[in-house]
């Protein structure tokens, strides 16, 4: 059952992610990415981390992706410009970009290779999982209290930065 779910969610995630980068229309990309996040959330449930799963939906799908969708709708520039500008730098021709894609594939292969070379722990998970919210909370406000507080500052800075950047210039 678990294996079935894993392969189901995993395939959904991979497929959706592939389609995200294959779409020309960013709206579809955003929606497909949400689907991918949903699949990942399912994987988190399989990993006995229900809190992370729900937070994944709330934060990623419910907040960050809405922001993306918002911007896409606001700019209303769905299709990327495919026509190719001759004046651009020699390094920017489509060739080098394909080189980048090839690099990405090579990197994926390397990662899988690295994992398999050491044998890996193919077996099922051994120990117990920490899935209670209370335990996570205790960790978060205990040993991780300082980083946690720092992230609040980070968010504040990001918020102010976003407001300043996106503000229309006052005449």
């Amino acid at each position: 059952m678990n294996a079935l779910l894993f392969y189901g969610f995993g395939a959904t995630a991979v497929l959706a992610s592939l389609l995200v980068i294959a779409q020309k229309n960013p709206i579809y990309s955003v929606l497909l990415l949400i689907a991918s996040f949903g699949a990942l959330s399912g994987l988190y449930v399989l990993l006995e981390a229900p809190f992370v799963a729900v937070i994944q939906i709330i934060v990623y799908a419910g907040a960050i992706m809405v922001l993306f969708l918002f911007v896409v709708m606001l700019l209303n520039a769905p299709h990327e410009d495919t026509e190719y500008d001759e004046r651009v730098h020699p390094l920017l021709r489509p060739g080098p970009m394909r080189f980048g894609a090839a690099l990405a594939i090579a990197f994926g292969i390397e990662l899988v290779w690295a994992l398999n070379r050491n044998g890996g722990e193919a077996g099922p998970f051994a120990g117990g999982a920490v899935s209670s919210v209370a335990a996570i909370g205790r960790s978060l406000f205990g040993p991780y209290a300082f980083p946690f507080e720092v992230t609040s500052v980070l968010i504040l800075v990001a918020m102010i930065g976003a407001v300043v950047l996106a503000r229309k210039e006052e005449p």
Partner: protein, 100 residues
């Protein structure tokens, strides 16, 4: 049976997809989306390792990554908006005016 390695391989594949997305797309928003894919791939490894080690630390790291992702998305999209106002374009290659 599904084990740690399965999750790690899945994560590696997702990460590569994200990376490829950064290179092949010519739309700033899609590039940001690809970065989100990469971040999520990393999140998956955190949770998987946390599960394998029986510790909450993996999940906590995920929260931090999400925070950073939210901050990144907010600032990134704000930059995208102001860039778009200037050039009516989302192609990253049309913003090369600062190279020298």
């Amino acid at each position: 049976m599904v084990g740690l390695n399965h999750y790690l391989v899945l994560s590696g594949v997702l990460f590569s997809i994200g990376t490829a997305g950064v290179f092949v797309r010519r739309n700033l928003i899609t590039i940001l989306l690809s970065i989100e894919i990469m971040l999520n791939a990393v999140n998956l490894t955190f949770v998987a390792f946390g599960r394998a080690l029986g510790s909450a630390d993996g999940q906590i790291m995920v929260f931090f990554v999400m925070t950073v992702a939210a901050a990144e998305a907010a600032v990134g999209l704000a930059i995208v908006i102001s860039l778009f106002r200037h050039k009516e374009s989302l192609n990253p290659d049309s913003f090369t005016g600062l190279r020298w």
